[in-house]
Assembly symmetry: C2
Homo-oligomer: 139 residues x 2
């Protein structure tokens, strides 16, 4: 089941400067198109789960729980590779996103752009969120 | 001088959920190649300066000061557009990066990748940091 045993995470873990809450921001980018899909947070356990399963796991700061991306919605992220930045305080996950990354049903969470003082929505809803979630606050 | 007056930032500012330190993580992505260059932090002032000048400004958490990207190194980031995510707690800056984004002299700060339990450096130093900085801790 594990594509990468926990021991293999030592080098990565030791390079990461987790913040005072034990978290590090993780940017998820679609590996082939380069599209930035979302930013979420990982703790040590989320990182280990991600490496062990090959599927992105995050820490939900609002729900205060570990969360496998797509556990409610089915919109999973298969890990392609994981990069760490120069200071060890940010991660970049290259992933293969199933369907949509955003709980609003859009491919990317970054669907609003600043233009001439207004925020424009530039991405359509690709999947009805009601079809993804039993309850709208879950993702 | 200003490409975007401060008043134009109202819509964007009101969409952002700054954290308890008054900061929001900002991902800088090269606008044409899609390369993720770095993750840094913005406070309200950094965002206003970025919008007003068209050049990326960040808040340095270590130095506790506003910082124009490239102010020491000359490696500026011209703002192309700025996006905000669904929850308003992350920004995506599409930029045109002059030279290298990383203070190590590499194009991107994400130059280390996890492979089989080791961290591999996958990007070369493109510019000698000594040529960019008077002192190595400045960027």
């Amino acid at each position: 089941m594990a594509s990468n045993p926990p021991a293999a995470a030592d080098a990565l873990l030791s390079a990461i400067a987790f913040d005072r809450d034990g978290l590090v921001p993780a940017v998820a980018q679609q590996h082939d198109s380069g599209e930035v899909l979302m930013l979420a947070w990982m703790n040590r356990e989320a990182l280990l789960k991600t490496l062990a399963t090959g599927e992105a796991h995050y820490w939900s700061r609002s729900r205060r729980e570990l969360w496998r991306k797509g556990q409610q919605s089915g919109q999973r992220q298969r890990l392609v590779e994981i990069k760490v930045d120069c200071d060890g305080d940010a991660l970049l996950l290259l992933v293969d996103q199933t369907g949509v990354a955003c709980h609003t049903g859009r491919r990317s969470c970054f669907y609003r752009v600043e233009r001439s003082g207004a925020l424009e929505t530039i991405r359509p809803v690709a999947v009805d969120p009601a079809a993804l979630y039993g309850k709208p606050e879950e993702r």
